[in-house]
């Protein structure tokens, strides 16, 4: 068995997993911040 294919598999899997998680957190944070900003805007407009 070629050890380098196992090494590559393990490290690549970890890199992809961590990267996807990072992208997921960034996207969710942006979406949440947009929702908060939209709601605040709507509340301000309603108050007026």
């Amino acid at each position: 068995m070629n050890p380098w294919s196992f090494l590559l598999g393990a490290y690549l899997l970890a890199a992809v997993g961590l990267l996807l998680y990072l992208v997921s957190v960034s996207r969710r944070t942006r979406a949440m911040a947009e929702q908060v900003a939209a709601l605040k805007r709507r509340m301000k407009e309603t108050a007026r």
Binding site: P3, W4, F6, L7, G9, L39, M43
Partner: protein
């Protein structure tokens, strides 16, 4: 320093640390006398599992603090740390499984260490599912704080499993009484990667807590709108 700056500094430090750890693991540390090159997976597997223990320890402490003081911040840290802990545990199990195939001749075995780690993963996947299922954030936080405290109790069982039962998994090499059983150059690689993954955890935690705080704010605003 503002929170964002700390987050950016941690991200940079983690990226540099991971690059250095990778170089030390592949260029400085020698191949294992028995396992050969494939042993280098340990510079990924061991830091991932040790940092996941740290993540669940943070869940344990902040869950106790949340139950005692009912502060949103403690719950945000617990929830965020649990999610990162699940990711790190899943990756540690996957890396261990990839190492196990050429070393043990199998991807998986129902060994006490492996089984108790799989149980830990399932407990915290359940924790995250429970979070998603409960609509009221404060109720979800209370129920999950209790689960987070109970779930953490699996970690001493995982750690001691190689002592209490006869297992295929080797005994602890670092977190053990007495000096580590690993060669000095390999220890350097392990500690460098451990430090890099701890920095990565801190960076992800900062980022994830910001999301959780935005979620609490949104829920508060929605309640205000609803009257």
């Amino acid at each position: 320093m503002s929170g964002r700056r700390v987050e950016r500094a941690l991200g940079l430090l983690a990226a540099v640390g991971l690059a250095i750890g990778l170089c030390i693991g592949f260029l400085y540390a020698p191949p294992d006398a028995e396992q050969g090159e494939v042993q280098r997976i340990m510079y990924l597997h061991v830091p991932l599992i040790l940092v996941s223990y740290l993540a669940f320890f943070v869940v344990f402490v902040t869950s106790i603090l949340y139950l005692a003081r009912r502060r949103e911040r403690h719950d945000a840290i617990a929830h965020s740390s649990a999610e990162i802990g699940v990711l790190f545990t899943a990756l540690a199990i996957a890396a261990g499984s990839i190492w196990g195939r050429p070393t043990w001749g199998t991807w998986w075995t129902w060994d006490a260490r492996l089984t108790s780690t799989a149980i830990l993963l399932l407990i915290f996947v359940g924790y995250l599912m429970l979070r998603a299922l409960v609509d009221d954030p404060s109720r979800g936080a209370t129920v999950c704080a209790v689960l987070g405290i109970i779930g953490f109790l699996d970690i001493p069982i995982i750690h001691m499993s190689v002592v209490w039962w006869r297992t295929l998994h080797q005994p602890a090499s670092i977190l053990r009484p007495g000096p580590p059983t690993v060669a000095p150059q390999m220890q350097v690689a392990l500690y460098a990667n451990l430090a890099a993954f701890a920095l990565l955890y801190a960076y992800l935690l900062f980022k994830r807590v910001r999301l959780e705080q935005a979620r609490w704010e949104l829920s508060r605003l929605r309640m205000e709108v609803a009257g």
